[in-house]
């Protein structure tokens, strides 16, 4: 009886979330892919279904010949989409590097802080994450506008004479992404640095290594897992970011998340937006798998 109960319990614990994720996470991707192969129609929903579930296997094979790759061809023909993909990767890449350059010293400083202070510092890094993402991006509009607070301040202290044009440029996007995702960079780096065995660094210094070279030869290499996790946590969502380019980037900046949104909401072209999403997913599969392996390794270590 107990064995039966135990087996039932373990089955339930696995099957319920498994089925949920299959249905609400994995199956939708196949639907996206299916619709990306269909053609647009002025109807509700606005596409012509390619293969339905009712046709069975023979219907499925019969219809394979009718598949349209037109949407994908369309994406390669129109420079807008290719530019949007490339510019998204570029903006996300630059922002990730900037976030690392800012986030690493912060994480390092936190890890070296007096032990009693660390929980408070940790909470202060996490706290912005609990306040709305939309609000935090919105706060930057008033700061970066030509007549905004940053320009008022810089002109007030006499550093510049003419206002800096930051909003609606790529710089606004870098600032917005670094600001919004900085905690994701700081936290994993901090947790690897905090666990670091300090006797290794002492040994290096005892052997005559100056602090800077001890840092580059010992501390930094040991913190690489945290750096990798942090970079992935910033880079992957930033590539598909929508809110930041929409609010801070204006019409002059190009990112694929915004293109997809416009294609879907303004042009109501579902098949093309599904094709945009499919390609975005294919681009991100490599970093996502990379991230998952790192995550699984961390899980193994914790065991």
């Amino acid at each position: 009886m107990r064995n039966l109960g135990s087996a039932l319990f373990s089955r339930l614990v696995i099957i319920v979330p498994y089925v949920w994720l299959l249905f609400f996470f994995l199956v939708p991707f196949f639907i996206v892919f299916r619709i990306s192969l269909s053609t647009m129609a002025i109807a509700q929903p606005p596409y012509v279904p390619v293969f339905g579930f009712a046709d069975g296997l023979s219907g499925f094979i019969g219809k394979l010949g009718e598949l349209h790759f037109d949407n994908f061809l369309w994406l390669t023909e129109d420079a807008l989409y290719i530019n949007a993909y490339l510019s998204s990767l570029w903006i996300a890449g630059v922002s990730t590097i900037l976030a690392l350059l800012i986030g690493y010293p912060v994480a390092y400083g936190m890890a070296k802080a007096p032990r009693a202070l660390r929980p408070t510092l940790l909470m202060l890094v996490i706290l912005p994450f609990w306040t709305s993402f939309l609000i935090r991006v919105y706060a930057w509009i008033a700061i970066l506008k030509p007549e905004g607070l940053l320009n008022q301040f810089l002109m007030g202290i006499g550093v510049i004479n003419d206002p800096l044009i930051i909003i609606n440029t790529n710089w606004a996007l870098y600032i917005g992404i670094v600001y919004s995702y900085l905690p994701f960079m700081v936290l994993p780096i901090y947790s690897t640095l905090e666990k670091l065995d300090h006797s290794l660094i002492e040994a290096a210094q005892d052997l005559g290594a100056p602090p800077v070279s001890a840092f580059w030869k010992i501390t930094f290499p040991l913190s690489v897992p945290g750096v990798v996790a942090g970079c992935m946590l910033v880079f992957i969502p930033a590539v598909g970011e929508f809110v930041i380019p929409d609010l801070l980037g204006g019409s002059q900046t190009l990112m694929i998340g915004k293109t997809l949104w416009n294609e879907f909401n303004a042009n109501r072209d579902w098949p093309v937006s599904a094709a945009v999403a499919t390609i975005l997913l294919l681009i991100l599969v490599v970093p996502i798998v990379f991230f998952q392996n790192a995550q699984a390794k961390a899980e193994e270590k914790g065991r």
Binding site: S10, L12, P28, K112
Partner: protein, 273 residues
């Protein structure tokens, strides 16, 4: 890791935190601005808070958001805790690799993809968009965050306590509810709070999966922000920030008190033994 806290370390921490907090602080300050311009200070006023409470559209949206978030966070916590148990306790079952993939991928998946794919699912199965579709979407993406939080607690869990309970004749279900759950409760609670804030905060997934009559607060704020920055939005944001700050403060005081209590209990147990 410990060494001297050098001047460079202090400066980088202070500057980093200034960068994180200054924009939020400015937003809060300008919510009390008399002028309609958000960038020119014209004296202290609370009039934007008063006008906020007469904005029925915003209040309705807040109500929808709270109902969605409470429901979604609670279901996501149950599902996410189950998934964490499955990943930590059962290292070998068919399709485990796919399962862990499906748990970790939503953490980094761009929201436009998640939103679009869920919308197309709801259309394909003929499910009318509205309150329930937003809730289902929020359950799906926030449960994975719950899993990660609970999983890290389960990994440091001393299983001998569970084994003792089983040896004494408790069924697995009873062991879970009377031994495991009370111990991992703080992690489950913080998972629930994380799911709640993720749901309260979400704009992109809600915009894709919502329908008429289910406009959430972020959607409402977003549509007003697009029309221009107004002090009224600043006031709404300040209230949200205040609520979150109070919630986090209360939670941290409770966990601290709990930790102190636990330590005292353990010491008492030692003394008695």
């Amino acid at each position: 890791m410990n060494n001297t806290w050098s001047r460079f370390n202090i400066v980088s921490v202070v500057l980093g935190f200034a960068f994180l907090y200054l924009p939020i602080l400015l937003l809060v300050i300008f919510s009390f601005n008399e002028s309609k311009l958000v960038t020119v200070w014209a004296g202290f006023s609370t009039k934007w808070y008063v006008s906020l409470f007469h904005n029925q559209g915003l209040i309705d949206a807040a109500w929808v958001t709270i109902r969605v978030a409470l429901l979604a966070a609670s279901v996501a916590t149950v599902l996410g805790t189950m998934a964490a148990l499955a990943l930590v306790r059962y290292t070998r079952f068919r399709g485990r690799l796919l399962f862990s993939g499906m748990v970790y991928a939503p953490l980094v998946m761009p929201e436009v993809i998640t939103g679009l794919s869920l919308l197309l699912l709801f259309v394909a199965i003929g499910f009318d968009r509205g309150f329930w579709t937003v809730t289902l979407a929020h359950i799906t993406f926030s449960m994975c965050f719950v899993t990660v939080v609970v999983q890290s607690r389960l990994l440091s869990f001393d299983r001998s306590i569970e084994e003792a309970a089983m040896d004494l004749g408790a069924t697995p279900v009873r062991t879970f509810f009377q031994v495991t759950l009370p111990i991992i409760a703080p992690a489950v609670l913080s998972g629930w709070m994380l799911a709640l804030t993720l749901s309260l905060d979400d704009l992109v997934i809600a915009s894709f999966t919502s329908g008429p009559g289910a406009t959430t607060l972020p959607m409402k704020i977003y549509s007003q922000v697009r029309l221009g920055v107004t002090p009224e939005i600043n006031a709404a944001c300040t209230i949200l920030i205040g609520l979150v700050a109070i919630g986090v403060l209360v939670a941290s005081i409770l966990t601290k008190r709990r930790a102190v209590q636990q330590e005292r209990d353990e010491r008492a147990a030692f003394a008695a033994g």
